[in-house]
């Protein structure tokens, strides 16, 4: 299953005749765009790989790839998903080793191709091939519910749905859960929660969101400006030890791996300015 061939390593391990235990293929999806699918994929993948398991990340957003940017790997992409699906190159040639985390690999999407060019059956076979070699295959699904969604879902057995506390995102997630049907056992991550807004009643709470969706909750992630910085820098937050979101991603990774740890939540902490505001009876 692992390790992968080194770039200049000619000798290959003998192919075992024994049936291999397949890894878990999990699609990260949401319906709505911009809720944090790619950020979740990059951070959950990093957190899982840091636990010592082998992880492949697949960017299924053909034409609008971004997972490579979040991992800081954009200048190392030589071949992409469609090159592999069309058998122009071997899978090994297209997998890019992560620069931060051992055991983590990226299969980038094609940037100048269209989603309709992906053959659904080949995609299913490719995910199966990855499952033979990696313990986890995380598939970053594009926004929407068109062909890109279908191809991202086809090889997966499980789904993680990412939602933000907005009515539009909740509605889209609900639709996606409906489309996934009874398979995939979807689990929920609620992203971009701003506890002070929830406290003031200006944002849906975790309970509000899940009273509609009614899904097993993997965890809740706070909205942090650090996420934007880490996206622009190409360093997933999960690499850091000083971030609340990073701790949450590690807890979620443990839960995905089957450990009995509590789902990370975000707590409202009254700040000095909040106290001052309520003392003065202002609008804060």
């Amino acid at each position: 299953m692992f390790p992968l061939r080194e770039p200049y390593d000619v000798a290959q391990p003998p192919v075992s005749a024994a049936p291999v235990k397949l890894g878990r293929a999990i699609v990260v999806t949401s319906g709505k765009g911009g809720v944090g699918k790619t950020t979740t994929t990059a951070n959950l993948g990093t957190a899982l790989a840091k636990r010592g398991v082998s992880v492949a990340l697949v960017d299924a957003d053909v034409g609008l790839r971004n997972l490579d940017i979040l991992l800081g790997l954009e200048s190392r992409i030589r071949y992409h998903l469609l090159d592999v699906l069309e058998e122009k190159v071997e899978l090994d040639d297209a997998l890019v080793r992560d620069k931060h985390t051992p055991n983590l690999y990226l299969l980038a999407a094609a940037q100048s191709r269209e989603k309709e060019e992906v053959d659904t059956e080949s995609m299913r076979d490719l995910i199966e091939e990855l499952r033979e070699r990696f313990e986890y295959v995380l598939i970053d699904c594009p926004a929407g519910i068109e062909m890109g969604f279908k191809n991202a879902v086809v090889g997966a057995q499980e789904a993680i749905v990412v939602c933000t506390p907005e009515v539009s995102a909740v509605r889209d997630v609900d639709r996606v859960v409906g489309l996934l049907g009874n398979a995939f056992a979807p689990k929920l991550i609620i992203n971009r929660v701003r506890p002070h807004l929830v406290h003031k009643g200006k944002m849906l709470s975790v309970e509000d969101v899940n009273s509609i969706l009614r899904l097993p909750l993997l965890g809740v992630i706070a909205d942090e400006p650090d996420v934007i910085v880490s996206t622009n820098k190409g360093e997933p937050l999960a690499l850091r030890s000083d971030s609340q979101a990073a701790a949450a991603y590690h807890a979620i990774a443990a839960r995905v791996a089957g450990e009995d740890v509590p789902a990370p939540m975000v707590e409202y902490k009254e700040t000095f300015m909040d106290k001052l505001g309520s003392l003065l009876g202002g609008r804060r």
Binding site: G33, I69, G144, K202, P225, I228, N232
Partner: protein, 263 residues
């Protein structure tokens, strides 16, 4: 006179297309124009929610195209404005239920009934995107100052350029304090990369979350900070020359630090 047909698009999802469509539409209606907002996100409609009209939907865009109802029956007039109407997307259909030609025909028909037709495009560059731009003769590209959003916007700009659709840019969710500390790309950075004409700069403001969830566009409310920003965007859209607010300008401490560094 026929209406201006403007598509709002972005490539990346969640950058604020629907919010911008609703607020620009409402601001235009406030200026006395007849405005029709078209939700082309078939299967994942949201424009109705952002305007608080979700309970009043009877017919949708696909039913109009399939000839099962008249356009006028499907249009929902906003309670607050007689001159603002939406054409909702179908929720339980797929984006391939309609063709580009059908969409272009529908937008042309709507254009005879309004001064502005604003088309809210779905995320991505698949069939839904191609349908949404099919009937438009202008585009507003919405992006945020993140590398991923800019890369997607660049891809969409290329596709619009292929179709010779003139376009202008809105940079949404700017956080001036992060630009100052170098943690966020500045407007100049974004414009340099995308090199299309700038239409508006919208700061990141929490008031947008609440107003969106309540279905009340903030341009219709009182005392919202972003209201004047949208009003300026609309005046630029109508050809007025309005200077941009310089959000990148350093505050007192920024200038102090700059002066110390310069010294």
């Amino acid at each position: 006179m026929k209406a201006r047909k403007i598509v709002l698009t972005s490539g990346k999802g969640g950058v604020g297309k629907t919010t911008a469509t609703v607020n620009i539409g409402a601001a235009l209606a406030k200026r006395g124009h007849r405005v029709i907002l078209v939700d082309t996100d078939i299967g994942l409609r949201n424009l109705d929610l952002v305007l608080g009209l979700e309970k009043r939907i009877v017919f949708d865009l696909v039913e109009v195209i399939e000839g099962r109802c008249q356009v006028r029956q499907a249009l929902i007039k906003d309670k607050r404005f007689e001159s603002l109407a939406i054409l909702p997307a179908a929720q339980t259909r797929n984006k391939d239920a309609i063709t580009e030609d059908q969409m272009a025909g529908l937008i042309d028909e709507l254009a005879t009934m309004a001064d502005y037709v604003l088309i809210d495009c779905p995320a991505g560059i698949e069939g839904g995107f191609r349908n949404a731009i099919a009937g438009a003769d202008e585009a507003i590209v919405v992006t945020t100052p993140e590398v991923s959003a800019i890369r997607d916007a660049d891809r969409v700009i290329g596709k619009l350029a292929e179709k010779n659709i003139p376009m202008r840019l809105i940079v949404n969710r700017i956080r001036p304090e992060m630009v100052r500390t170098g943690d966020m790309l500045s407007i100049d950075d974004v414009c340099e990369i995308l090199s299309i004409e700038l239409l508006g700069i919208i700061p990141d403001d929490e008031e947008i979350i609440d107003t969106t969830n309540r279905g009340e566009p903030l341009v219709l409310g009182e005392g919202y900070r972003l209201r004047s920003i949208y009003e300026k965007i609309v005046r630029r859209l109508e050809g007025d020359l309005i200077p941009f607010t310089n959000l990148d300008a350093p505050g007192f401490f920024g200038r102090l630090i700059g002066a110390l560094k310069a010294g």
